[in-house]
Symmetry: C5
Amino acid sequence: MIVDCAAYEGGRRREGKLSMERAGEAAGEAGTFVWLGVVEPSEAEFKAIADEFGLHELAVEDAVRAHQRPKVEEYGETIHVVVKTARYVDPKEMIEVGEVSVFVAPDFVITVRHGNADLAPVRQRLESRPDLLAHGPGAVLYAIVDHMVDRYMEAAHGFDEDVREVELQVFGEGHNPTERIYKLEREVLEFQAATAPLGEALEDLCRSNYAVVPEPLHEYFRDVEDHLRRVTTRIENFRQLLDSALEANLTQVSMRQNEDMRKISAWVAIAAVPTMVAGIYGMNFEHMPELEWRYGYQLVLATVLAVCLYLYWRFKRSGWL
Amino acid sequence: MIVDCAAYEGGRRREGKLSMERAGEAAGEAGTFVWLGVVEPSEAEFKAIADEFGLHELAVEDAVRAHQRPKVEEYGETIHVVVKTARYVDPKEMIEVGEVSVFVAPDFVITVRHGNADLAPVRQRLESRPDLLAHGPGAVLYAIVDHMVDRYMEAAHGFDEDVREVELQVFGEGHNPTERIYKLEREVLEFQAATAPLGEALEDLCRSNYAVVPEPLHEYFRDVEDHLRRVTTRIENFRQLLDSALEANLTQVSMRQNEDMRKISAWVAIAAVPTMVAGIYGMNFEHMPELEWRYGYQLVLATVLAVCLYLYWRFKRSGWL
Amino acid sequence: MIVDCAAYEGGRRREGKLSMERAGEAAGEAGTFVWLGVVEPSEAEFKAIADEFGLHELAVEDAVRAHQRPKVEEYGETIHVVVKTARYVDPKEMIEVGEVSVFVAPDFVITVRHGNADLAPVRQRLESRPDLLAHGPGAVLYAIVDHMVDRYMEAAHGFDEDVREVELQVFGEGHNPTERIYKLEREVLEFQAATAPLGEALEDLCRSNYAVVPEPLHEYFRDVEDHLRRVTTRIENFRQLLDSALEANLTQVSMRQNEDMRKISAWVAIAAVPTMVAGIYGMNFEHMPELEWRYGYQLVLATVLAVCLYLYWRFKRSGWL
Amino acid sequence: MIVDCAAYEGGRRREGKLSMERAGEAAGEAGTFVWLGVVEPSEAEFKAIADEFGLHELAVEDAVRAHQRPKVEEYGETIHVVVKTARYVDPKEMIEVGEVSVFVAPDFVITVRHGNADLAPVRQRLESRPDLLAHGPGAVLYAIVDHMVDRYMEAAHGFDEDVREVELQVFGEGHNPTERIYKLEREVLEFQAATAPLGEALEDLCRSNYAVVPEPLHEYFRDVEDHLRRVTTRIENFRQLLDSALEANLTQVSMRQNEDMRKISAWVAIAAVPTMVAGIYGMNFEHMPELEWRYGYQLVLATVLAVCLYLYWRFKRSGWL
Amino acid sequence: MIVDCAAYEGGRRREGKLSMERAGEAAGEAGTFVWLGVVEPSEAEFKAIADEFGLHELAVEDAVRAHQRPKVEEYGETIHVVVKTARYVDPKEMIEVGEVSVFVAPDFVITVRHGNADLAPVRQRLESRPDLLAHGPGAVLYAIVDHMVDRYMEAAHGFDEDVREVELQVFGEGHNPTERIYKLEREVLEFQAATAPLGEALEDLCRSNYAVVPEPLHEYFRDVEDHLRRVTTRIENFRQLLDSALEANLTQVSMRQNEDMRKISAWVAIAAVPTMVAGIYGMNFEHMPELEWRYGYQLVLATVLAVCLYLYWRFKRSGWL
């Protein structure tokens, strides 16, 4: 589905929406480029566009099928950039990954998105910056990548909060956060797979001399690369933290088990005293003087109680109870 | 065993099956190349082919013995590519690894397969794409590698499902998935050993200038390399997940042990009450007033029962039972 | 907020404080450079400075927003260096990370700090070294980076002490240092993220030929790089040590659990003796000769006591008690 | 001790054994090279050889002392290659590491071996391949390295079997394979230290242009390098597997502990029933109607037995017994 | 403190000890170089030397303050090499790290040592090798580094023995080697930090073309580098082994806990039999035929004993006792 199609000239959007047919013509005019936005196109639909703009067979296949790695590929003058989108869905503690394919040529840029990405705000923001837009289709690429990396930062922030919650559970009472830690690790791995390869692609974009990424844009891409590296460092740290949290959690479980075992044992010890004493005075010897004492029973009960209370106090003091 | 032998001219298969003798001649004709498919050849059998086509002694040894690493090797104009095939056998949760050796020269391509690979569909699909075939023997190599990497993707998908099943077992009840996790780790390692080195080989194929891989095919190999890297990232993630699953599993085992210990202890505590009380009233003191009460026995039984029920309720509430 | 602004000529500070307006002029004079120190500027405030000195839009954004990675970026003749500051707050066992952005051009240097960095001592020390200052703005950059790396060393020292304390707790009695170890790991990761990328930046500074870092300063930057690498090695070692401490701690917990279990069991065994014996003589058989012995009761009590003492001695000897 | 010394001319061994003195002469003749095999020479013994053939002081020291890392070193025209030999001694589950030093010059090759290497079969096999031998001393080097790497493969196979046995023990009954796993890890590390650096040396041999390794031999060394990389990948996988086996083993131990604890507890619970009931009817209340019933005793015994059997059945069903 | 100062000419030491003043002159003579040995100099003391020989300010600071990383730095014609010394103090199981700074110029070499290094033997050995000394100050550097790396080898040997002792403790009885393993890990990390960076420095020394390290010495430095790499591989392996030992130890602790639990439980089970039986015959039913049997008591005792012995035998057989 085509969601937006416009021609840009000298950094400004030409009035009105273009039809696909007139887009090709517009792209042909000097100093003008066309930005065509497509959402989850069918194979036939995208084939038509590809034919119109002369895209390479393999790139087309990638764009329609999605599930590519982030990358930059060069097909003659056109470059094909794949960027992943990421959104952290907090209630489910899951990372939702989408994909944007961008075809950048000297006179057009085609964006194909799959999943949760919304490029409308990117277009709006960019249209308010004619100075950037004047650099041509490369500026559109920059704006998209910049936007995506900002979204990664937000997703990382969402992770951060959940990792901190998990820590509280590990060192708090009454939780078993093992499954939660594991699930977060899974999501972190997916997040990492979506973002890490983009670093290479960005480096490529600012080091190589693609005709569609003019010199003044290099600093912009370098800036995005830098932001991305902050995100990837954080993601890597999440993995390390979750690994440690998993092990700390195991220690806490063992610790708690030991505490429970001590508590239980202390009560068993306290209960053993009356049982043992009662056993002794339950023996049937004919000559057991204490049995005949007037207050023998009361005395024994009192002694047992005293011993039990003493034990209770000792265990309490030594932290077993 | 020779399974298929045909000459291709201008992207189209020449009618009829070639005998080995006439294959040599056909390969000599300009604009024509021969594709010879062999399955698990004996040493003598392959020696004959090697002599006919002038293959290097070492390559021949490798092709007959199999068990090579994926690689590209150059012997003069001929390149020798080894690719592993992988199939995930779900019922056994095992990866089945085979091997295809491809000798690519300007006028012939020889494919030698060992194990579970089936190249017939590759040949069919390729014959329906004369535009690709027109690039010569390199196109055959591309078609084979592309097919294999697609099979890896399927195998990875099979793994993914088993990993998810294992996760359910780790965090579910009544399973000990330790052995299963371990076995999956073993298979993942084998899968990784079969696929990872291919990356280097593919990079070599699209960066170097082998005469048999003409320029227009580079983009195709780059595309396969990209797919491969997606597979290898997934495989690496499986390893990480299984590692974490092993540790999470240990924690769950400890957790369950603690729960069992608490449950057991709770019942022991409940049972201790009547035992202790019975012990006390089993003592043989002469003066124990309660013993003479008319409903002493019933009272004691009732009290004991009440205390037991109270304990049961407390333990239930605190989650020990 | 502008905190200090002065012109330097031939390695010496010109008398008096400069206003921003006159700073621009002063920077324009040959052989003179201006050092402008700013603290957490607002966007408007820094925009004015950036316009005056011609800083790049992206650098400005970075300087105002802070939270950058340590890096060197080149914008024409100006380079923008981001350095993190680190202070170890011992009572909270936390690393406090700040940031200094330095813009170095041939005729000015602008320092923007966020958080806990204090650059006044750097300026003082540098003003007492006219030989260094004579190298121009690059010398200011050196002095700042050198100062920061010395602070890292101090912070690492603070960590070192806490790691040693934690070790004592792991192998000592009565502590559960799990949470402390985990928290330290978190801080170490943050410290590492703040310092490690600086290495790359420093290498860049002494390898590349930035006009603002003249040849004689290269040795100074190499020296700082070397100090930094000592810090980063130490930090990496902290991570390794804390990882091992976490596992050693788990072992100690298991060990202690076993010791407790043995101790408990020993007491249970000792208590079982009188219970068992009392049970036997509590049976109601008509013909139990011992019951009629004159000193049967005393004999039994003495025997039980002897057995208990013997068991106590055995357990003591074998280390269970 | 000199074990064999012969001159080779045009790929064929010249009749008869050479004395050391005549070896020097023979080496001097055009188109001829000498192969001198030495076993664990004394310092004096090897000094004589080194003087005769002009070997470098440092290489001599290395050759006599053994315990070198695998490496290639160039001393003028001569190259000195150190290769480790490895044999897996199955009964002791130990890797036995020896060493072969090879000095390759245009007109001689000297092999010095320490430990378990036997080079006689290498010499025999090579003498039956005049086409290879015709490449001169480099062919001898190839034959030795090829032989050694084949031995590594066999050693790796030995490991593989033991690793599989250990797996059976981990997931089987009645073993504590912890020590075995640990010992295997130790051996794997030693194996790795002996083999991994050879990769670099081989790469050097086929990439660099040593006069003694002529072009046509490069493919042979590349082939060996490839075999070596298969071995090193397997060794690396052993390490990963043993790591996982160690952790799986710990889980199994915990699992078994829990099972034992449940089994024990179940029996304790069953035994608690008669004890409790007996305690109750052992009380001395004057009014306990059941005591006077004619078949009270039998009834109680029967009830207790029934309850015990019921519990046994329940525990059996839930897997605790 | 200056410990030795001598001039060397043509590989031989000139008679007599030089005063510092005359050292400067001697260094100026053609074909002569001065070796000045200093131990832990004060800042003033070393400043004088530095002025005399023209050392760089930063190098001086490093030499006096010590605690540098191993490195090579070039200041004009002079190179400054920092090497760590390492000694394994077996009784304390600690690595003792010192430092030697070597300033090598075409006509002098200054060695500054801190801590446990003793350079006297190096000087003696070198003076007996005029052929080496003839290469000038670079030979002194070689001799020192060679000596240090030999000391590393000895230290590694000391570690090796302790690691093997620890292994015996892990798999033996009655030890808790956790703390020892941890402490060894700490020392290994320190050892690694002291030795690993030297590799880079040595590589630099034999690859770069420092005027003070003439061509014929390259092979010597390459030899040292090789020895160093053997040490660093061993150190790395120690880390791996200690890591595994820590985990194996945890498993052994769990194993032993299970064994103790089984042993304890077996005894509890045996003791439960008489208690249960005694309880039954302690009941007060009026009609309990066994109680009236003449040898009822003896029969019961004998039965109980028999059952206990049977249980003991069963537990013994199944390995619980």
